[in-house]
Symmetry: C2
Subunit: 237 residues, 2 copies
């Protein structure tokens, strides 16, 4: 039995929140993260085919497996919350599938950047949301974000390739901007459709939330971190 397999055997025992709106919001959030991890697994495994060497393929495969490995704990917690994990994931299928359909990498380097930028964006976003969660859920969400140190591999490969071919840098910089745009488009659509999840950010009757100014600052932080990641890769944001 590895951590990659999905079951309830290692379920953490957590509490179920009394507040039904909050419980529903957490179910939506965990469903979104779980579907996001499943679709990331699928796309990374697919994009691993573009790898020029076996080493690169294994590195990309490892990133895919890490994503899949998070599903078990997310599913266990969803069950604790009285939700069917698959029903909880289903509403997010369209948003993530559309994102991936619109951002199919044309080559290995686009795949690498998508893995790095997409994973980084998702991690930043979930970390921002984590501030509004109970401790149990927060630990689970943060634990789902570890990337097992594969980022260094991407930075290394991309910088080496750009050093050899400067035109590649220009193309990949545009690609990075497109990934950011598609991610924001889909995130906005999901937020518009999922009331409970949006309420987490905007607050509830007895829960503080973000006002519009705070929401604006959050997006500024997300954009700044994206720019930093592009810079790490040697690309213009």
């Amino acid at each position: 039995m590895t951590e990659s397999s999905v079951g309830a055997s290692q379920a953490r025992v957590g509490t179920v929140p009394d507040d039904e709106d909050y419980r529903q919001a957490v179910v939506e959030l965990l469903g979104a993260i779980a579907y996001g991890e499943l679709s990331a697994f699928e796309r990374l495994a697919e994009d691993a085919k573009l790898a020029p060497t076996l080493e690169d393929k294994v590195a990309m495969g490892a990133m895919a497996s890490v994503e899949f490995g998070h599903l078990e704990r997310l599913h266990a917690r969803l069950r604790e919350l009285g939700a069917d994990p698959f029903a909880a994931m289903a509403p997010f299928k369209r948003g993530f599938d559309d994102f991936h359909a619109h951002t199919a990498p044309a080559d290995w380097y686009e795949g690498l950047i998508k893995a790095y930028v997409g994973d980084g964006l998702a991690a930043d976003f979930y970390r921002e949301i984590a501030a509004y969660l109970d401790a149990d859920t927060r630990d689970l969400v943060i634990g789902s974000l570890e990337d097992a140190g594969h980022s260094a591999f991407v930075v290394d490969r991309v910088r080496a390739a750009i050093a050899q071919d400067h035109r590649l840098g220009g193309r990949l910089a545009l690609w990075g901007r497109r990934l950011m745009g598609e991610a924001l488009t889909q995130a906005q659509r999901v937020a518009a459709e999922r009331d409970a999840l949006s309420a987490l950010l905007t607050g509830g009757v007895d829960r503080p939330g973000l006002d519009l100014a705070a929401l604006g600052r959050m997006f500024t932080r997300l954009t700044e971190r994206h720019a930093q990641r592009m810079d790490d890769l040697g690309l213009d944001a």
Copy 2:
């Protein structure tokens, strides 16, 4: 850090055999298993796209991740043996890639059967070979074969589908025979090309091996177990 990621952090400390021919044979065997697991991971992740439901997709994804999760220990042992894991895997690329190219499933059920029959055949074969290995390597090889209990899921799905559509049973029975034929063809080709690996089976100066009659009995056992698996699925072998 999950078990799915690849690195040397959890390397077992084992001995390096004095016999150079034997060391080379083990390097070839572990290289073959490692490439087989990597290609199984890729194909299972690909075939998971055919899944009719999210539950099925996650079950197939779990099988893919289990395969990938074995790579780390195999690579660690290859390094201990003084081999480059990727160089050790490379000679087996063609055989496994050809097998998969010739057995691309046409639908979800063909994918399920391929996962079940392919995994079972590989496991039987490696278990047969394990009898000729030192204790360290044997433990490693046997440990690479656990399927984390996903077989029950395949049997369940296939039997239910056949019960609903008897013609499907006929088609899938033919498919199972083709899988067996392709696997034997590729295995034979690999054995013909890899001297050290073949010598493991046929013996060395101071190591007993299989004579032709024993080799025949081994293939009979493999065929019988394949027939048993087809029977478990409700299919004619």
